[in-house]
Amino acid sequence: MAGSTNINITPPRWLLAELTYACPLQCPYCSNPVDYAKYSSELSTDDWKRVLTEARKMGAVQLGFSGGEPLTRKDLVELVKHARELGYYSNLITSGYGLTEEKIIQLKEAGLDHIQVSIQASTQELNDHIAGTTSFHHKKEVAHLVKKHGYPMVLCVVIHRENIHQMPEILAMAEELGADYLELANTQYYGWAHTNRDLLLPTKEQFEQAEQIAQAFKEKVAGKMKIYYVVPDYYEDRPKACMNGWGTTFLTIAPDGMALPCHSARDLPGLDCPNVNDYSIQDIWHDSKAFNFFRGFDWMKEPCRSCDEKEKDFGGCRCQAYLLTGDMYTADPVCSKSPEHGVIQHAIDSAKATASLKSDEKPLVFRNSKNSKGMSSAVDIAD
C-alpha cells in the first residue's frame, strides 16, 4: 500500500460533520456522492457527540455542520450546544431552506458562531431553477435574519455557466444583504458537478471576465466585506493544494459515520475508509490505512516525485486524478506538467460543444434520490 512510516502526523484542525445526505434542494453541482441514496443510515446524536468530543481532544477547532441540509437533523441545536461547550468554532453551512427566526435564535443561544447561506443566483427564476425548489425570497430573508441576530454572515454562491453572467448582480446582491464574507465558489467538478460538467463548465473567456469583475469589487469593498474566491482549477496551470495535504488538517465524517480524508475520498478504490462506529477518532487519524494512504511523498509517481513544487501542492487532488484518469497515484491532470493534461482540454472542448445544444437535448441531472438511485445501479453495473 501507499503511505509511509516516520511521517510527522499533525493533529486535525478542521472537522466537517456531514450530518445527513437529506436535502430539500436539488443543485446539479452538489458535492455529495452521486450514489448517496445507498447510504441511508445516519449516526445517532450520541455518536456525533462522541465524534465531536474525540476530535476536539486531538485539537480540531473549526467545525462545519454540513450535509445535505444540516437543518433537517432534529438534534442540530443539541449538537451545536455540545460543540460550544467543547470550545469549537461552529459554522452552519446551509441552504437556508426551512430556517426560521426562532431557529436562528435557538442556535445563537446554543452557541453557534456563524451561518453560511448559499444562494444559487441573483434572480428568483434562475435560483429556483438551479435549486430545484422555490427558495429565492426565503434565502434573502434568512440572510437578513442572520445579520439581525449578530452572526457573521457568509454568502456562498457557486459559480457555473448558467449564472456566471450574473456576476455584477451577484456582487450587488451580497452588498445589499450586508454579507461580511462572500464566497465565490467556482464549481469543482466532483460528484454531481462531474456528471453535469458539460452543462456547467464556462469558457475561459467567461471565467476571465467574471474574475476581473470580482477583483474590482474586492478592491471596492475592502475593509467591509471579505471575498473568498475558489479558483476554477481547470483553467489553472497548477493544481490546488488539496486538503492542505492528505491527513494533515481536515477530517470529514459522512452521515453514515465513515471517516474521510476529504469529502470525495469515498470514491477512491482500496482505501477501506474506517467508520466511527468501529474506531475512535484517534485511531482513525493515526493508524487507519485511509488516512495514511497519501501522507508524505513516497506514494508519488513522476512528474510529481521529482517536482520542486510537490511540497506546495502535494501533486494536487487524488480524487480528481482518479476521476479523470482512473489512476489515483498520478499527477492531478489540471497540472500542465501532467502527461494526462489533455483530458482537461478535452473536457473544456466538450463543454463548449454542449453549450450550443438546446436544453432539452441534454438536460441537467438534478441531485435527488430518484436520480441517485439510477446512478447507483449504473455504478453497480460498471463495477
Partner: protein
C-alpha cells in the same frame, strides 16, 4: 487605517479569541478560518475591551511586563489588527 488614540478599542464581536490547549497558543477564530497568535499579540488583544484606548493599553501592558517603550510595537500591531477586522473603534 490608523488607530485613533482617543477612542476605546474593542475586540471584534465577529471574531473569537481563544486559548487552544492542543496548540499551546491563543488563536483568533472567524468563519472558516483561524489565525495563530504569539504571546505578545494575544496579550495586546486581551486588553481590547472596548473601554481602554491606546495609551491605556500601552500603560497596562508596560506595567504588567515591567517594561517601557512599547508604544510603537503595540501601535503597529493594532493597526494590523484593525486592517484585518480583529478590532474596531466606534
Amino acid at each position: 487605517m490608523t488607530i485613533n488614540p482617543d477612542h476605546p478599542i474593542k475586540f471584534s464581536p465577529m471574531h473569537r479569541l481563544q486559548w487552544e490547549e492542543a496548540q499551546q497558543k491563543y488563536v483568533i477564530l472567524y468563519p472558516e478560518g483561524m489565525v495563530e497568535l504569539n504571546q505578545s499579540s494575544a496579550e495586546i488583544l486581551k486588553c481590547c475591551d472596548g473601554i481602554r484606548n491606546l495609551a491605556q493599553i500601552v500603560s497596562e501592558l508596560e506595567q504588567t511586563f515591567a517594561t517601557t517603550g512599547l508604544t510603537n510595537d503595540i501601535t503597529a500591531f493594532l493597526e494590523v489588527a484593525l486592517q484585518n477586522g480583529w478590532i474596531n473603534q466606534h
